[in-house]
Symmetry: C2
């Protein structure tokens, strides 16, 4: 996820680490804040793999900025990651949203394939949420907190499925 986000934002424009951190926080609605101890080692790793290069620039304040630019290899890696999402990236909303944020870089047929995988996941007879081990229907759930969860989950799932179906049709075949 971190890697997709870094590569994705760098494809849009060269950025330095601090800026990446802010954009990732915004992208996820501040639900995920990258820590320095995750970000800077990740940048270093990706530099060593040849996906990004850095050049120094004097900072606005404080330490000099390490401006990061995507290499052709990095771009290929981004596309590869977007084309082949893991099960986690398909099933987890936050992870999937990161994919969605950079899906524009794929071809329509590839975009369609990713959206279809997400739709199939959501459509799967997964009857989520349960109390005593068995799936629970909204009306049967007595706990108001779980009722709330269920209600919100059902409503967002419905909305997302409708949107996915529409997009898949537009991207069309």
């Amino acid at each position: 996820m971190l890697e997709v986000a870094i590569l994705g934002f760098l494809k849009e424009a060269p950025l330095h680490g601090y800026e990446l951190k802010q954009r990732i926080a915004m992208l996820t609605g501040h639900a995920y804040r990258v820590s320095d101890g995750a970000l800077y080692p990740a940048i270093l790793r990706m530099e060593q793999r040849g996906w990004i290069v850095r050049h120094q620039e004097r900072g606005e304040a404080a330490a000099p900025r390490q401006v990061l630019t995507l290499t052709p290899d990095g771009e290929q890696e981004l596309l590869r990651l977007l084309r082949n999402p893991s099960e986690l990236e398909i099933s987890n909303s936050s992870q999937f949203n990161v994919l969605l944020a950079f899906l524009k870089y794929l071809q329509p047929a590839e975009q369609r394939a990713v959206l279809k995988r997400r739709l199939e996941f959501l459509e799967g007879a997964r009857s989520f949420f349960q109390a005593g081990g068995k799936p629970v229907k909204l009306v049967e759930e007595a706990d108001p907190f779980r009722r709330g969860m269920l209600q919100m989950a059902i409503s967002s799932s419905r909305k997302e499925k409708a949107w996915l179906r529409e997009m898949i049709e537009v991207l069309g075949e």
Copy 2:
């Protein structure tokens, strides 16, 4: 998150590891599947800390089940975790949902405090989602994938805030 889920489900009833895995998957709408390499070491850790005890039972098929029971210490730990959620657990929807699933074990005033923290997070002037570094309004977002993200995020956020306000009022003062 894993620990809250394990302790929470075990407060409902003694369970073995495999069953815990299934319940956690259901709880999260299959968005999060605990791997064996995460679950069993976690169980061992929690046993060593005195939060759970195990007793063997012959398996229905396969290996003998290690049925896990919550100790009084484990129960205290669960309550402690529910009362003092981290920023991540407040800000991340999936994490927050796990809290919600076991919030019934807290006192109304404590429940209220947790819901209020979540509401404050959602209400914060965070203007989430962005394209070029600045917050973006729905109408200004050209990328259909990001538009979709934004739309769905706005709608679920609205729904959740309304629900939180209602619950907070019901829980009183």
